[in-house]
Symmetry: C5
Subunit: 326 residues, 5 copies
C-alpha cells in the first residue's frame, strides 16, 4: 500500500500527481535538492512493481525489499543507496523485544521508504521532518538521516527498558527471593541477543556513511548528522554488550542460589530429624526388657528421662541455631 507520496521542494511539501511526470519534472528542474518521497507499507509485489516501473530500482535491492527479513545494511548501487534497518518494539507485558523492518531506496531525486509491521515509526518521521524545512532542503539524504535517527533513538529507549529488566532481575536474584525463574533470565538474554542482531551490523555501514573519504553523502553537514546517529548507536551497543556479560553471571548465580536454598532446606530438615533421633534413642534404651534395669524402678525415673530428653533436644536446637543451620 502507498501510504503517502509528496514532493519536497526547498523544504516545502507539494502534492505529487503522476509519478512519471513528477520525476521527469524534478530531474529537469532547477532545484538540485527537490525530491519525491514515496512511503510504502507492506507492499504487494504488484504495488511495488508500479513504483519500480518509474524508478528503475536495482532488481537485487527490490528482491530484498519484497522478501523482507534481511540483515541491517547499507548497500550502494549505481546511483541508489539501499538501506535495510531493523526497527525494535518493546512489549512491556512480556518484556519481549519485537523486530520489524524498514527499507529505504535513496536515489536520484527520490526516496522510497518501505515498512513492514506496525512497529515502525515512519509516519511520525515524515511529520517531524516536514516541520524542519531547513533539513529537508538538504535533499533525499535528509530523509535517510531522519529515519535512521528515529530508529536509533528508539534503540536508546529500548536499551533503557532492557537495563530496567536487568536491574529487576538482579534485584530479585540477589535479594534471595525464591520466585525468580531461570527461564526469565534466559529470555532476557535472548532479547538482548535479538537487540544485538539488530544494532551491531549497523555500526560498520553507518560509520561508512559519515566517513568523509568513503561516504556517498556529499554534504559535509549531513555527514556530521550521520556521525551523531552512529555515536548514539555505539552507546547502545556498548550497553548491550555489558548486559550480555552480566546476564551470564546472573544466570549462573541464580542457578547456584537455587541449589544453595535447596541445600539449606535439606540441612534444616536433617537437623530436625537429628534432634528427634535423640529422644528416640533414649526411649529405645528404656524400652529394653532387661530384668535388671534399676532406673525403671525409680519413682521418678520416667520424669527424669523426659527431662533429659528435653534438655538434649533443647541443647541440640540451640547448637544448630548457633551454626545457623536452623
Amino acid at each position: 500500500m502507498i501510504v503517502d507520496q509528496a514532493i519536497y521542494r526547498d523544504g516545502i511539501r507539494e502534492p505529487c500527481g503522476d509519478l512519471s511526470d513528477a520525476l521527469e519534472a524534478l530531474r529537469t528542474g532547477q532545484d538540485p535538492h527537490a525530491f519525491l518521497w514515496i512511503g510504502l507499507k507492506d507492499p504487494t509485489d504488484a504495488e511495488f512493481d508500479l513504483v519500480n516501473d518509474e524508478l528503475k530500482l536495482h532488481p537485487l535491492a527490490v528482491e530484498d525489499a519484497v522478501k523482507g527479513n534481511q540483515r541491517p545494511k547499507v548497500e550502494l548501487y549505481d546511483n541508489t543507496i539501499f538501506v535495510v534497518l531493523k526497527t525494535l518494539r518493546y512489549v512491556e507485558a512480556t518484556s519481549d523485544v519485537e523486530t520489524g523492518e524498514v527499507m529505504l531506496f535513496v536515489g536520484d531525486r527520490f526516496v522510497v521508504t518501505v515498512r513492514y509491521g506496525d512497529a515502525s515509526p515512519l509516519a511520525t518521521v515524515r511529520q517531524r521532518l516536514e516541520g524542519m524545512p531547513q533539513q529537508l532542503r538538504h535533499g533525499e539524504v535528509s530523509v535517510l538521516h531522519a529515519v535512521m535517527d528515529a530508529i536509533v533513538d528508539n534503540y536508546v529507549a529500548i536499551d533503557a527498558e532492557l537495563q530496567n529488566d536487568l536491574e529487576e532481575i538482579e534485584a530479585a536474584v540477589f535479594s534471595g527471593a525464591r520466585d525468580t525463574d531461570s527461564g526469565q533470565i534466559y529470555r532476557l538474554k535472548r532479547e538482548v541477543l535479538e537487540f544485538r542482531r539488530a544494532a551491531n551490523p549497523l555500526a560498520a555501514p553507518l560509520s561508512m556513511l559519515h566517513d568523509g573519504s568513503r561516504s556517498p553523502v556529499s554534504v559535509k553537514e549531513m555527514r556530521l548528522l550521520f556521525r551523531d546517529v552512529a555515536d548514539h548507536l555505539l552507546r547502545v551497543i556498548d550497553h548491550v554488550e555489558s548486559y550480555d556479560r552480566l546476564l551470564t553471571d546472573v544466570l549462573n548465580a541464580h542457578l547456584a542460589q537455587i541449589s544453595v536454598q535447596q541445600n539449606s532446606d535439606m540441612r534444616k530438615i536433617s537437623a530436625w530429624v537429628a534432634i528427634a533421633a535423640v529422644p528416640t534413642m533414649i526411649a529405645g534404651i528404656y524400652g529394653m526388657n532387661f530384668d535388671n534395669m534399676p532406673e525403671l524402678r525409680w519413682s521418678y525415673g520416667y520424669h527424669v528421662v523426659l527431662g533429659v530428653m528435653a534438655v538434649a533436644c533443647l541443647g541440640l536446637y540451640r547448637a544448630f541455631r548457633r551454626s545457623d543451620w536452623l
Copy 2:
C-alpha cells in the same frame, strides 16, 4: 561420472560433442560469453583425467578436487578460479546436519562442477539457470553465482531448522520437563559448529569476489549478485553465532535444573521421613518400661497419644506445604 555437458551460447543450451573440438570452437568463436559446462559426480581419477586433458587445470586444484574433504575457499590460479563449497543437508529424523562438497573450476570458456554425495543440488541449479538466459549470457561466472546462491540459500533453510531445534530445546528445558537429555543439547551444539565450519570460512573469499578492487569478476552486475549472496551468508553466520552462545547457556541451565529437580525430590523424601520420625519418637517414649508412667494407666491415654501424633504429623505436613517442600 559425467552427468551432463553442454555449451551455452547467448544463454541458450547447445549440445556438446567432442570436448576438445568444442573448446577450440568456443575460443576462436565470436561470442566472448559462450562457454562449456561439464558436470561431474563422484568422479574417478580416470574420469577426471579425461576432462583435465582438455582443460589443463592446475594440478593443485585437481588434487583437491580428487581428494575432496577440503576447506571452503576461493582460489585464483592463472586463468582459472577454483572454488570449494560445503553443501549442507538437514536430516529431520535425527536433527543431524550432514556436510557434502561441491567444487567448481571456472576457466576460459568452461566451467566444471564436481559434486560429492547426493546432498548437492547441482542438477536443479542447471535446470533453473537454463530458464534464465539473461543470466547465462554473462558467461562462466553466472554458473559460479548460481551454484553459490543455491548453496547459501540452502544454508538459510537449514539455519531455520536449527533455530527450530533450538527453540524446541529451550521450550523443553524452561518448561521444566524432565525428559530432556543433555546429549541432545550437546548434539545440537555440534551440528551448529559443523554448520559454522561450512559457512564461516566462505565469508572472506565471497567478499573478495564482490569487492571491485580485488574481484576476478569483471562484470559489475555480476559482482552485485555475489554481494547479494555474501549478504545472505552473513545473515546466517550472525544467527549461528547466536545459537552457539545460547546453547552454552541452555546446557548450563539444563544441567543445573536436573540437579535442582533431584534436590527437590530429596527434600520431599526427607520431609516425609521427618514427619514419620515424630510419631516414632512419641511411640518410643510410651514404649519405655518405667514402673511409674502415669499416662500408661489412663483409660484413654492411648487414644490421646494417637491424637497427639496425628496432630503433630498434620502440623508438620502443613508447615512443609507452606514452605513448598511437599
Copy 3:
C-alpha cells in the same frame, strides 16, 4: 550556571568582560595562544544559548552537551574539538562507582568546559593550571590536556580502590569465611563494567590526539602530554580487564564453596544421625518381647549392652573424625 570565565594571555589570567568583545579582541590580537575559558556547571538551555550565541558551536555538539549522558568521545568539527569525558567517583561506604560527565568545546581562542554533578574536579583543574603559566601558554589545548589528565589520574585512583575491593573479596572467599555474599561479588563486577564503559571508549580518540599524523593538536610538546595521558589510561584498562576475568572466577569459586560448606554441614548432621542409629538399633533388639531371650535375664545384661552401645558410638565417632567428616 557560569561558574568562572577568564582570559589567559601568555599564561596569565585576566578578567573577562563582555564575551563578544573579549572574543573579538582575542581574535584580532597578536598573541596566537591567548584564549578565553568559560566554565559551566549543569547549564540550563538558556545559559547555554547565551554562550553559544557568541561562540557559534555546532548544533550537534550543543545538543549532546545539553542532553548529557553521552559516550566518551573526541569529535572534530570544522574548527572546534568537542570532547565528552566520564568522570568517576568512588563511594567508599557502598564500594559504588558513580559516573559523572564533563564536556569540552575547544575552539578558536576559546574553551568551554561543562560539568554535570558534583563529582567532577574542574575547579581544582583550573586552579592547578593557573599555577602553571608555561602550560597555559600553549593555548586552548592545554586546558583539554589538564582536564583529561585530571580525569584519567582519577581513574588510576579508583582503579586502586577497585583492586582493594577485589583483594578483600578474594581474601574473604578463599579464607572460607561464611559471611561473604555473592551479591557483593556481582556488584563489584557491575562497578568494574561501569568503569570499563567510562575508560575503554576513550582509548581510541586519545591515541588519535597524540598520533602526529592524525592529531588536531599542532604543538608536538602537547601531543607528548596527550600520549602520557593515553599511557595512564591504557594501564587502567589493562587492570580492569584483569579484574573482570578474576571476578568471574571468584564468583564461581564462591558459589561452589557455599555449596561445599553446606554439603559439609549435611555430612556432619548425617554422621551424627548415623551414630545415633546404632544404639537405637541395639535398643530395639533388646526391646523385643521374645519369651526366650537369655541376655535379658543376665544380672548385668543391661549394663553390658549400655557399654556395647557406648563403645560402638565412640568407635564410629572416631572413624568419622579420622575421615574428617566430623
Copy 4:
C-alpha cells in the same frame, strides 16, 4: 650427526665431496637451481660449527637451531630463510600428542635441515622428493615446501586421531557410562592445546610465503604450492578450534553428570529408608505400653498390623517407582 648430504642438479642427486668445494662449484656453476642439501640430526655444537663454517649462517638462527625448543616461525635473514617447525606424533596407547622440532636453513645454493627426536619424518621426505625431479628442479625452496607439506599432512592425520578421541569421549559421556574420568577429558584438552601451539603460529608466516607481494619465494608455481600447504593448515586449525570449544562443554556436562548420578543414588537410598520408616513407626505405636490398647487384645491384631505394614511399604514402593525414584 650428518645423516645425509647430496647435491641436486637438474633434479638429479649427485654425491657431495668436500662441502667448501661443492658450494664454490655450485655458486660459480651455470645451473641457478642446483643446490646442496645437508641433513643433520640432533647435531652437537661441534657438528653444527663444521657446517656453519662453510655456510656462514646467521648467529641468531644458529643459536635457535642449537638450543632448540623454539616457536614455529619463518625468519628472513639477508640471504637465508630460517624456518622452525613443530612436528607432532600421536601415541595411540596414551592418546598423547608429542612435539618434536625440525629446522631449515634455506640459503644461496644450499638447504640445511635439522631434526630433533625420532618423530620427525625427514628421511622419508628426501626419499620422496628424489622421486620427483621436476620439483627438485625448482631449487632450494622445493625442499622447504616438501618438508612443510609432510609436516602439515601429518597434522591432518593427527587431527583425525584427536577427532576420534573426542568422539569416543562424547560417546562415553553422553551414554551415561559411569567409568569416564574427568582427567581423561582434561588431558585431551591439553593435547589439543599442544597441537594448537604447534599449528597456529605457523599460519601467518605460511601466508607470507605464498603471498606474492611479500614472499621471498620468486617462482610463482612454488608460491601456489605453499598456498596449498597453508590451506591444509587452516583446515586443521579450524578443526582444533572446534575441539577446544566442544571439550569445555563435554567437561562441564561430564562433571554435572557425575553429580546427577550421585544425587540419583542418594535419592534411591533415601527412598528405601523412607519405606522402612513406615513399619518402624507403626511397630513403635504397638510397642507402647498403655494399659488400654484394644488392638493388642485382638486375636489377629498382630497379623492385621503386619498386613497394614506390607501394604504401606508396597504402596510407597510403587509410588516411588512411578516417580522414577527407585
Copy 5:
C-alpha cells in the same frame, strides 16, 4: 643511588669522571658509538635531578621514571628512547610472581638504566655485556638489547616455573587427592595474569623496534637481535595464554570434584543408615505388645530373628558394595 657509571669506547670500559665533561667529550669525539652508561637504583628525586641536569631528559619520561609503577612500553622522544620493562621474580616458597621495574633512557651518547627493587638483574647484565666488546661497539642500543634480552630470558625461566606449578596442580586435582585447595588454583591464576600484564604489552613495542620501516634502531644487525628477543617473548605469551585457559578448566574440575567427593561421603553414610534401619524395623515389630504373636513364644524365635537381621544387613551391604556405594 648511582650504582655504577662508565664510558664504553670501542667496546672497552673506561672510568667516567665529571658527567658534564664526559658527555661533552663523547659528543665532540670521533667514535660515533662511544657512550656513557649510568646505572641508578631506587633513585631519589635529588639523585635523579643530578643526572637529568646534564642529560636533559624529557620531563614526561622523567616523571614516569621517578614515580615508577608504569606500564611496559617503548616511547620515542625527540632523540631519546624511553623504555619501561617489568622484571619478574618467582618466589619458590609461595609460588608467587613478584613484579619489579626497570627503566632505560637511551639517548645521544648515553644510556641511563633505573631499577627498582632487588629483583632486577641489571648488575649481571653490565658484567656480561662488558665481556662482549663486539656487542658494546654497536653503541647505546646494545645496552637496551642486553637488558631486554636478560629480562625476557628471565620470563622464559618463570614460564617454566609456572608450567611446573600448573602440572603439580593438575596432578593433584586429577589424582583425586583431597588436600588440594581451590585458593591455590586461583592464586596461580592470579600470578599468571600478573605475568601476562608484564609480558603482553611489550609485544607491540618490541615488534616496532625490530621492524625495519618503523624502528628507531638504525643498525640492521641490532634489529635482528631485537627480533630474537621478540620471538622469545611471543613464545612465553603463547604459553601463558594456554595456562590461563587450562586453569579455568582445572578450577572448575576441582570445584566439581570436591562436590563429588562430598556426595560420595553422604552416599556412604546414608547407605550405612539404611542398613541399620532394617534390624531396627524388625526389632520394632517384635517389640510390639500384641497378645497373640506366635513367634514370640518359639523357643528359638529370638535367635531366628537375629539371624534374619544379620542376613538382611549382609545382603544390603553386599548390594551396596556392588553398586560401589560403600
